[in-house]
């Protein structure tokens, strides 16, 4: 498949964009995250009286200048109805990332060497929900011609490519809650292997609708015990945790071949040095009881990075605040790090944002890179009383200043799919 003597190329991050429950814009969101703010609140968009879970991490409405999200600032009104909300969020995060990178090629060569890989765990769930009502009412002929393209997962990549004229690989990862990491890892590989020089990569999710909340409730995955105190609902590793809190949003990175970035004088945030994957081959929704899938994913990522566990200073955990998953991941990290765990910081930023499903790995990649840039480990909110002790510092409640040069970020998804990515200071 590859010519003799072929050498993988180095890949760096040159742009970042985020729309999240903590707002829009990397600096703003990071500041709030480090300050211990929560983006979780009571669900406003629809009536939750029949649903056991009543809180979520919702993207604040508002102008871009106020760090809120207003689709009209990014997308002409006529185009908005052709996109489910997850695509609109991806569009905004991509705009932030592309503008940040300064990479907007006008020539054919530059455009053909730039691709897009923005995934989603579920895609246009709310659009599917609303359109299905027409069918139930016997009005199938009233289905919008935009229903299918508004709902398809890969249309986030499609719309972003059309907006900027990026004619390289146009791809999309769909691996439930591991989507964001798979998209970034796979896109980095495409750049490394020469399929593209630049990839706009990340994830987007907007599943806070009756079907999404109801569906995850039915799978007994969501927190239901903190409906009156939303900011306390997401509490990874805490004794009282009772499920994850759904979040929405999008994170997008601009991944670029190192020499390409240097040649144009781009600012470089970090290098993507490692990527690992594994499958549990165990259960559709439960992680394997030994945490073996998580262990192998992290081990593979560190191997590909050529870094030992002692060389990693911070882990951004999957840590969704479910009774089972949190401690299994912790056990896997303890096993892999061994004695080096005593010097490790690991936190779950889902305590502040909720779980953004297919976008989680993407926004957490941004938090991981920010941890390196600012030498700061963001906190795990609501970690009052851990369900078990560990030598690893889980950065309970308050951010910590630490020397952070190498970070590993985990994302695990339904179906038993696991992915880990490693970023390094450059």
């Amino acid at each position: 498949m590859f010519a003799p003597g072929f050498a993988p190329r180095r890949v760096v991050v040159t742009g970042m964009g985020i729309v999240s429950p903590l707002g829009l814009g990397v600096d703003h969101v990071w500041k709030r995250l480090v300050a211990g703010h929560s983006g979780i609140s009571a669900i406003q968009a629809f009536d939750v009286k029949d649903l056991p879970a009543k809180v979520a991490g919702q993207v604040p409405a508002g102008t871009r200048a106020e760090n809120g999200f207003d689709p009209s600032e990014f997308i002409p009104v006529k185009e908005q109805k052709k996109m489910d909300r997850f695509i609109q969020l991806a569009y905004a995060a991509a705009a932030e990332a592309v503008e940040d990178s300064g990479w907007m090629p006008e020539d054919d060569e530059g455009r053909e060497r730039t691709g897009v890989m923005i995934g989603s765990g579920i895609g246009g769930l709310e659009t599917i929900q609303d359109t299905a009502k027409l069918v139930a009412e016997g009005r199938a002929r009233r289905i919008s011609p935009f229903f299918i393209p508004a709902s398809l997962v890969n249309l986030a990549s499609g719309h972003v490519s059309i907006r900027y004229g990026f004619k390289g690989p146009n791809h999309s990862a769909v691996t439930a809650c591991a989507t964001g990491v798979h998209a970034i890892g796979d896109a980095a590989r495409l750049v490394s292997l020469g399929d593209a020089d630049v990839m706009v990569a990340g994830g987007a999710e907007a599943a806070i609708c009756e079907l999404g909340i109801g569906g995850f409730c039915a799978a007994r995955a969501l927190s239901t015990g903190f409906n009156d105190t939303p900011t306390q609902a997401s509490r990874p590793w805490d004794k009282q945790r009772d499920g994850f809190v759904m979040g929405e949003g999008s994170g997008v990175l601009v991944l670029e071949e190192y020499e390409h970035a240097k040649a144009r004088g781009a600012k470089i945030y970090a290098e993507v040095v490692g990527y690992g994957m594994s499958g549990d081959a165990y259960h559709i929704t439960s992680p394997s009881e030994t945490g073996d899938g998580a262990f192998r994913s992290m081990r593979n990522a560190l191997r590909s990075a050529g870094v030992g566990p002692e060389g990693v200073q911070y882990v951004n955990a999957h840590g969704t605040s479910t009774p089972m998953g949190d401690d299994l991941e912790l056990g896997a990290v303890e096993r892999l790090w061994g004695d080096a765990g005593a010097k490790l910081a690991m936190s779950s930023t889902k305590s502040a944002t909720g779980h953004l499903l297919g976008a989680a790995g993407a926004i957490e990649a941004i938090f991981s890179i920010q941890a390196i840039r600012t030498n700061t480990a963001p906190p795990t909110l609501n970690l009052e009383e851990p369900s078990r002790e560990t030598a690893i510092d889980r950065v309970a409640k308050e951010a910590q200043s630490r020397q952070i040069d190498v970070v590993l970020s985990n994302s695990f998804g339904f179906g038993g799919t696991n992915a880990s990515v490693v970023f390094k200071r450059i």
């Binding site: 009104v77 006529k78 009233r142 919008s144 011609p145 935009f146 393209p149």
Partner: protein, 79 residues
């Protein structure tokens, strides 16, 4: 301007996101108003909904301009 013409133009403005002044009777949805083939499908559906008429596919294909739409709907309503 007839009531039908008025309403058709409003729907076109709303769905295609164009300025009202551009929606003249001779304006072509695709050539003058920036619509693509899916936009015109949606537009026809919006006319059906708003006027309570049925526009079969073969008739819809012949509706290329604002005037085509107005004429078809007025004929349907008179029938």
């Amino acid at each position: 301007m007839s009531e039908v013409a008025d309403k058709v133009k409003k729907i076109v403005v709303e769905h295609l996101g164009v300025e009202e002044s551009k929606v003249t009777e001779t304006a072509s949805f695709i050539d003058d108003l920036g619509a693509d083939s899916l936009d015109t499908v949606e537009l026809v559906m919006a006319f059906e909904e708003a006027f309570g008429v049925e526009i079969p596919d073969d008739a819809a294909e012949k509706i290329a301009t604002v005037k085509d739409a107005i004429d078809f709907i007025e004929k349907q309503k008179a029938a």
